[in-house]
């Protein structure tokens, strides 16, 4: 059974501390895969992203995604941290860590969680441009929705 940690927070996170927390005291883990999503500056035009979320549902939906990953792969641990609020270019937005006895399950589980998180976890991004003008809401990408099809 996978040990799952899910946190939605405005503060930044520390990748190595999170890996340490997941692997601490365990001798059954053979591989850890992590993904960190960052805020891009979009060619210099973006001052910040503002992330809105649905409190409660965000945690619950990510937990459902992690449960599904645990059914598909023999994962020993999953950690998901997703930030909300104002995030500037270069800052970290999201973290997914998957641990397993063998690498393939860890790679695939991490990718599965990330793919579903993008289109199913209730978060919305608004762009703030360097002009100071409050910008537009980011549109969902068709590729993100299509990325889910291959997991069927």
């Amino acid at each position: 059974m996978a040990a799952t940690t899910i946190r939605i927070q405005s503060e930044d996170f520390d990748l190595s501390a999170e890996i340490g927390r997941l692997t601490c005291g365990r001798k059954d883990i053979g591989g850890v895969v992590s993904f960190v999503g960052y805020c891009r500056d979009e060619g210099g035009s973006l001052a910040a992203l503002e992330l809105e979320h649905y409190p409660g549902m965000a945690e619950e939906e990510i937990a459902r995604i992690c449960d599904e990953a645990g059914k598909r792969w023999p994962v020993l641990g999953l950690t998901v941290v997703h930030r909300f609020g104002k995030i500037r270019p270069g800052e970290q937005i999201v973290l997914v860590i998957a641990a397993s006895s063998h690498r393939r399950a860890a790679f695939e589980a991490a990718e599965f969680v990330m793919d579903f998180l993008k289109s199913r976890a209730p978060f919305w991004k608004k762009e703030h441009g360097i002009s100071g003008r409050s910008g537009d809401w980011v549109s969902a990408r068709d590729e993100d929705e299509q990325a889910l099809v291959r997991w069927n």
Partner: protein, 83 residues
């Protein structure tokens, strides 16, 4: 029933949530969306493209044809852009 809105739906409607007493004829998520659309021009603007609006009942994703049942909270929001 508590109705909550997110992202540009919240901005267009001008409030994050409200209590709405849906009439008995409103049985599904799609019925609720249609009922809200008729409440005023800000609602009509928010729901002008109903086919792209997503919904959740008691914090779980649902489809337009899903019955409201005994749910206490319904949420409407645009396609998600997390990660």
């Amino acid at each position: 029933m508590k109705v909550v809105y997110f992202a540009w739906l919240r901005e267009r409607i001008g409030k994050p949530d409200e209590e709405i007493a849906f009439p008995e004829t409103v049985r599904t998520v799609a019925d609720a969306l249609r009922h809200l659309t008729a409440l005023g021009e800000e609602y009509a603007y928010a729901f002008e493209r109903p086919e792209i609006i997503r919904a959740a009942l008691d914090r779980k994703h649902v489809k337009p044809e899903s019955p409201l049942g005994t749910a206490r909270e319904i949420a409407f929001f645009p396609p998600m852009t997390g990660g």
